[in-house]
Subunit: 151 residues, 2 copies
DNA sequence: TATTGTTATACTCTATAACTATA
DNA sequence: TATAGTTATAGAGTATAACAATA
């Protein structure tokens, strides 16, 4: 029937590359979450800062940056904005470093963000069994925690 | 012994999130590959264009963009540069679309790029068995090919 | 009227460099 | 001398909008 053969049938040789699949999968979950976080006036990056500080009261910006892979030059305005919004406090530690902690508002927003994240995970992973999810996480962590080239 | 307890011991509650692990793993492989491709004067995106055109002679820019998730406005300068470098030809198809195909130089560079990619995959996935690699790819593709929200 | 492609432009994200202040 | 943090800025990467030409 139907001679509607306009479909190009393009082959994608990148599909059997883990690197390519990672990039597409990562972008899909990230963009979906980013849209969801707009309602909380949060970007994924500031959300991650909020969550790590929430779980590590008194952490410094440098420790935070090292953990999340964020340069100090980019961390500064990020933390400044969260403080300006009354979500986080900077307590002087020793004249050159600050201890970070969430305010009550920050903790509340953090809880809401965690709910959005949980929903995001469920949306994309409902097809995956618990065992497979654990295996997936282990494989992914093995990839990015590999000892890097010394060059 | 050693009272060198300066280590902060920061906990990262994001580690059990697939979305977070995806982002870190994706960035690790992507950045590593990008560094490698500098030697070929290619960015990961133009490399992906080169490879898909190589496997689909005569594909149009719109078909290419749809397959790779690249907007036409961003595809234009990308293809223009590859053509200017003598790696690709644009053959007028019907006055408004072009057929793309690689030149001999383009095919040669494509082969070299594929070698770099293969090395990148091996570097990060040597610990993974073939079966697990296939399972990983299947899981990742399931994530980003999910039917999206209709909103 | 919808499609293909182009140009111009804005916005976000991240990287580098230069700097201050402190340990 | 090294570390914590800040500011300014430049470079990717991607997004939107307006447009021309064609089907």
């Amino acid at each position: 029937m139907s001679a509607k053969r306009k479909v190009p049938e393009i082959r994608n040789p990148l599909l059997n590359l883990v690197g390519y699949q990672l990039r597409r999968a990562s972008a899909a979950m990230f963009n979906d979450l980013a849209v969801d976080l707009v309602a909380l006036n949060l970007k994924p990056t500031s959300m991650s800062v909020l969550i790590v500080v929430g779980e590590n009261e008194g952490v410094t910006q440098s420790g935070l940056g090292q953990l999340l892979g964020i340069k100090s030059a980019n961390m500064a305005p990020l933390v400044a904005e969260l403080e300006a919004r009354g979500l986080m406090q900077r307590l002087r530690l020793d004249g050159r470093s600050h201890n970070l902690r969430l305010t009550a508002d920050g903790r509340e927003l953090c809880r809401q963000a965690l709910d959005r994240i949980a929903a995001n995970e469920v949306r994309f992973l409902s097809a995956l069994q618990t065992t497979n999810r654990a295996a997936l996480i282990a494989a992914l962590e093995a990839i990015w925690t590999l000892p890097r080239k010394v060059s």
